[in-house]
């Protein structure tokens, strides 16, 4: 069911530019208006998510650790698994963001008879790393269409990515192959593995279909259904320099499908699971040092609590205490203090 619905939505999204450009000829809408609007939604949506997360109070210090905590100086502690200061936290975050270190610990659980058995499972990590890194490189590589002159770094990246000339013209992009491999694995994993399939929602499948759609239209454009790259760069450069023009020459409809799917991805991004791009930086289990004993973490929504000192308490129960023979501490410190409710401070009342 989940797969079916998200695939249906994906198909509808494919059809929209197909009809919009191929039949109705709305080039201006699909080439300029929709990309700009979706990009704006993307950036503003991300900022909205960031502010929302930044405003959420963090009541406890809850870093997840899996190593020796810093304690006595002669006990060696694990800097990465139980970071103590900001530098170690940054180090752990960098490894997490760039190399998905926690995913590397992913385990599989299988029943053998009545025994639950855990085993190593690096495939998810491998699929994820293939997909994410390829996606990043492809994103940066696309800057060749948005800049003129193209910075030499991007030219170099593009050249390195396409250095295998063995499979004809144009040379195949290595990241094209890797991202398809990664995405196929991530999708098949959800479809084939019953345990994962059971916990997969439509919102898990949809981004996979969407990104696979983007990749496949892009790959088709490069190797089969060729489009006029010169005209495309006129358009994309116009978008990047805020002087957008629809090129006079007709660009194949597949380009508009590609562009529309990218726009949809951008607009969908901040409001879906894909916002983990931002969320990873706001994970309290990752971005906090494990230094509870050295630094007190104050719950931000704490308010001063109504309390009695011992002297006041003793004063209140003096008689019953004396009657019961409980010793009275005459030297108990009598401090002046206010007491508070959540509605604000009040003067010390005679209790």
């Amino acid at each position: 069911m989940n797969v079916g619905w998200s695939f249906l939505i994906f198909l509808v999204l494919l059809l929209i530019p197909w009809v919009g450009v191929g039949v109705l000829g709305l080039q201006g809408l699909f080439a300029i208006v929709i990309p700009y609007v979706c990009f704006l939604v993307f950036v503003i949506g991300l900022i909205y998510r960031i502010l929302n997360w930044a405003k959420s109070p963090q009541p406890f210090k809850i870093p997840t650790t899996c190593g020796q905590q810093k304690s006595l100086p002669w006990i060696k502690y694990s800097r990465l698994e139980s970071p103590f200061n900001t530098f170690e936290v940054v180090l752990r975050m960098v490894l997490e963001v760039l190399f998905f270190r926690s995913l590397f610990r992913n385990l599989r659980a299988d029943l053998q008879g009545k025994k639950l058995i855990y085993g190593s499972a690096k495939w998810l990590w491998l699929g994820a790393i293939l997909f994410h890194w390829s996606f990043l490189i492809i994103l940066i590589r696309h800057l060749r269409l948005f800049t003129n002159p193209v910075p030499s770094v991007i030219q170099f990246l593009d050249y390195m990515d396409s250095f295998i000339h063995s499979f004809g013209v144009p040379p195949v992009y290595i990241t094209d192959i890797l991202i398809i491999a990664g995405l196929s694995f991530l999708l098949l994993r959800r479809l084939v593995d019953a345990k994962v399939s059971y916990i997969s929602h439509g919102s898990d499948y949809f981004p996979l279909f969407l990104i696979l759609g983007i990749v496949i239209t892009g790959v088709l454009m490069r190797y089969n259904l060729k489009v006029d790259v010169y005209a495309i760069k006129q358009l994309t450069l116009g978008l990047a320099t805020f002087k957008p023009v629809v090129p006079e020459v007709k660009i194949g409809t597949i380009f508009y499908v590609h562009l529309f799917l990218v726009s949809v991805l951008a607009a969908y991004f901040p409001f879906s699971k894909l916002a983990h791009m931002i969320g990873v930086f706001f994970s309290p289990t990752r971005n906090m040092p494990n230094n509870n004993r050295a630094d007190m973490h104050v719950n931000p929504w704490n308010y001063p609590v109504k309390h009695l000192t011992y002297a006041e308490w003793q004063e209140r129960f003096r008689e019953p205490m004396e009657n019961a023979g409980i010793p009275i501490d005459e030297e108990a410190e009598k401090e002046e203090h206010e007491w508070y409710t959540i509605y604000g401070p009040n003067k010390n009342l005679n209790l």
Binding site: F42, V43, L46, I47, I50, L51, A54, K55, S56, P57, Q58, L143, R144, L145, F146, T147, N148, P149, V150, P151, I154, Q155, D158, Y159, S162, H165, G168, V169, P170, P171, K226, V227, D228, V229, Y230, A231, K233, Q234, L237, A240, T241, F242, V249, K250, G252, I278, F281, P300
Partner: protein
């Protein structure tokens, strides 16, 4: 907002990253080069739209046919026949590699490997 300083830096970095095309073009954007078309010829061997999108595929097919299949005649869609040869057919009209081929290829950053075997007319002239 908690950790306001860090969060604002984060937002700024993110915005700068996603508007990178704007910054890379800032103050150095160049005009789009126009490839110089042959003046005396009205049409190429196929339609303009087809050539603009598919010329690399056509040339790749030509290469396979000429070198591997020993076929040297190309029949265009309008029935006209052409000799399969980059230097003698294509570059007879498009006789300037720099002003025709390179102007677009450098603009969109492609790495055609025609010239590891073929010699452009202007280079050939230098050697003669």
């Amino acid at each position: 907002m908690y950790n306001a300083g860090k969060v604002i830096v984060f937002i700024v970095v993110l915005i700068v990253f996603f508007t990178i095309p704007m910054w890379l073009n800032f103050g150095r954007v160049e005009a789009i080069p126009q490839p110089e078309l042959p003046k005396d010829k009205a049409k190429c061997i196929e339609s303009k739209e087809y050539m603009r999108a598919y010329h690399m595929k056509l040339l790749d097919d030509w290469r396979k046919q000429a070198i591997r299949e020993n076929k040297h005649v190309y029949v265009a869609k309008d029935g006209e026949k052409y000799f399969i040869n980059l230097q003698k057919t294509c570059m007879k009209c498009h006789n300037n590699k720099e002003k025709f081929c390179d102007s677009c290829h450098n603009f969109v950053v492609t790495h055609p490997d025609c010239w590891s075997c073929h010699i452009a007319p202007e280079v050939a002239e230098k050697w003669q």
